[in-house]
Amino acid sequence: MCLISRGPAPGPVSGEETTMRAVAPVFTSFVLSVLSATTFCGLAAAEPTTLRMAWYSDGNEGEVMADLLKRFHEQNKDIEIVLDQVPFKAINETLPVQLASGQAPDMARVVDMGGLSRFALDMRPFLKDPGYWEMNFGPFLEWMRPAGDTKAIPGFMTQLTVTGPFVNKTLFEQAGVAMPGEKSTWEDWAKAAKQVADKVQAPFPLALDRSGHRYYALAVSQGTQVFGANGEPDVVDEGFKRAAQLVYDWHKSGVMSKELWGSVSGTAYRGANDEFKNAQVVMYLSGSWQISQFAKTIDNAFDWVAVPNPCGPGGCSSMPGGAGLVAFKTTQHPKEVARVMEYLASEPVLAEFYSRSLFVPGHLGLAKKGVDYPTASPEAAAALKVFTASAAQISPIAYRIQGYSNSRIVLNAVISRLGQAVSGETTLEDAYKRITADVAQQIAERNKK
């Protein structure tokens, strides 16, 4: 662009001059190329590193994360983060394929931390203070590590979730039925919910999300142990059968509607959050992640409360869970990824994130100090209090199920086969046999090398 073309030199020229004239343009071009390459490379070096983060949302947490990342970029101009807000289904189904093919984002918010642990980046070499992570995320890091690894630090918890029931208090009041108190059993709640539903013509007396995770909140309280003496899954035990029988009988007696568990096939998830928001559900077993959207969408339409998990022979434990922001080893920029993660996992930033998203903290230090929720409505604040109290009563077996790297295989087999039994396609006995066979077959397939 800057080259000036010249006409031929006038007059006769010597041989040396001819050679010089021939070489000069080549030399000039070479020098200019080197200069421009140096300039270009210099510019390229000054360009920010772009990282990608895949993120799904239940409530407003995507907006909060976008704010925090913007703030991070203002303080760190050399790193840009593209936040890909995707549906939960994409995290569950597309992300594993992206990871296997080496085309994954640098970080992602995931639920199946154990299942994806083989792709996770151990950030220890890039972190300024790995001790901070061990101290504040220690028990949850186990959920993110591959089996046998006791040291890796792949990410942090964006939220700790606790399963538990939401109750439409207005429907109880309209029906004139007293709400069962603390330590009530599942049977007590089922009976009360059915009475209310019959009186107010609500189509869903008791609703459990069609999810293996939610089913295990019931099963653990019925005393299931999940693992045999050898440490391998032994899913169908007496506690499991008690829970399965309850679900089966509730569908038969109309305590549970077949529209959730019986209307779709396989491992498909079905929630009753929309039905609860429309005041069609008396009691809804879901979890703490629903608080934000219930507070926002129900508003003053009716009174709702979160209640402690109902009890059974195995206790009153909820199921823990949650989502972690995990870094992946396919990233080309592990140092930059670690810097972003350090910023987001720092106590003040994380406190703001939990506070604005109305999440139960997955950071031990913050859990101990307590998080303020200034934006929470009175219902949401009360619900957060109930779930935080439930988190303290989670049984070790519930933690073990959640941390097991093949837990999703177990949860999915359960939901698929119990769904068939509920819809009347198979018997419970057949479902038990199939669950055992499915779990064994899928673990064997995963272990094939």
Binding site: A100, D112, S265, R408, E425, R434
Partner: protein, 346 residues
């Protein structure tokens, strides 16, 4: 013509000439490119002969077809012979015919619950049931619609467009529309309760779920098959009907003796195409019923999708084996279509 002045004619001539020149300029690069290609093509023709030049022209298409059709089929077959959860074939252990053996391990093929992979066989049974009902209904309603639209009725063009319109919609959109109509608080239940009836939970009852899966599929695709039959009806010579009319032949006899026999080649095409499409059904039913209740509307393609992508252990090998089985069935149906088409030509 005499009213047009010579100036106007001249202007028109200039305009036409300008357009022609513009066209020449526009196609100039094409002409140049063709002229450039001419010498090597002539050389090649001399070298390989005029008859083989056809293959040279077909080659680009073959390359694309091979790349996007045959190569994926090959990769799929390779996957069906491997196990594990790794994505790349090079990292997957070879298991021979194990995936097929697992799929076909049944006490009785007529009883899916006796099979090790019962979901596959439930999918096969459901797909077979769906195809029988859907193809029968599709052919019948398409035929009736085509016969009506072939009559000289008022607004014929409008009705032809109306029946064809659903074909233009995306299957997902079709399923979502019908889901809104059929769900607990949907339009149909609103109508039923307004008339004093009880709400019906269509997606909880296996019979209703299958009925609506078939109904929605017929509604969505009938226009396409109607069009094929309509074309067939319009190709029947009118003098045959005139002769029948002169003989005072009853209309039902005209239908049975003239229309249906002469429409039969088109009917065969419609039946075979509907069979192939029915066996591949996935998106509409998946969005409408999710394969439920239980597995009452789980189709083979949904089984393949879920086995490969939405189950926790992404079992690409088993899914690939199931798709090879489905592919063989579709191949046989396609051969039937070719045979039918050839018969039509004869």
């Amino acid at each position: 013509m005499s009213g047009i002045s010579s100036t106007t004619r001249l202007e028109r001539g200039i305009a036409t000439g300008a357009l022609a020149r513009l066209g020449q300029v526009a196609v100039l690069p094409v002409g140049v490119a063709l002229r450039l290609l001419d010498p090597p093509m002539r050389w090649m023709q001399r070298f390989i002969g005029a008859r083989r030049m056809a293959y040279v022209f077909l080659l680009p298409n073959f390359v694309f077809f091979g790349l996007f059709v045959f190569l994926p089929i090959g990769i799929n077959v390779v996957f069906s012979l491997t196990g594990g959860t790794a994505l790349f074939p090079s990292q997957r252990p070879y298991v021979g015919g194990d995936q097929f053996a697992y799929l076909f391990d049944c006490g009785s093929y007529l009883d899916p619950s006796s099979c090790r992979e019962d979901h596959f066989w439930r999918g096969v049974a459901n797909t077979a049931k769906f195809v029988v009902f859907q193809v029968t209904a599709m052919v019948l309603f398409s035929l009736i619609t085509a016969l009506v639209l072939n009559m000289k009725i008022r607004g014929r063009g409008f009705f032809r467009a109306v029946y064809f319109f659903p074909v233009l919609l995306s299957p997902v959109v079709v399923a979502l529309i019908w889901k809104w109509i059929l769900q607990r608080d949907g339009l149909l239940n609103a109508a039923i309760t307004t008339l004093g009836g009880q709400k019906i939970l269509f997606f909880v009852d296996p019979g209703w779920a299958m009925f609506w899966a078939v109904f929605v599929s017929v509604w969505a695709h009938m226009g396409f098959y109607t069009l094929i039959l309509l074309a067939g009806l319009q190709a029947i010579p009118a003098d045959l009907y005139e002769a029948a009319e002169m003989d005072a032949t009853p209309r039902w006899r005209v239908l049975l003796r003239i229309t249906l026999p002469l429409l039969w080649p088109n009917m065969i095409v419609v039946i075979v195409l509907a069979l192939i499409k029915g066996a591949q059904t996935f998106d509409e039913v998946f969005v409408l019923t999710g394969g439920g209740p239980g597995t009452a509307t789980l189709m083979v393609v949904q089984y393949i999708y879920e086995t490969a992508f939405s189950s926790q252990v992404q079992n690409f090998g088993l899914a690939a084996a199931a798709s090879v089985v489905l592919g063989v069935v579709l191949f046989v149906l396609t051969l039937l279509q070719f045979a039918a088409a050839r018969r039509k030509e004869v």
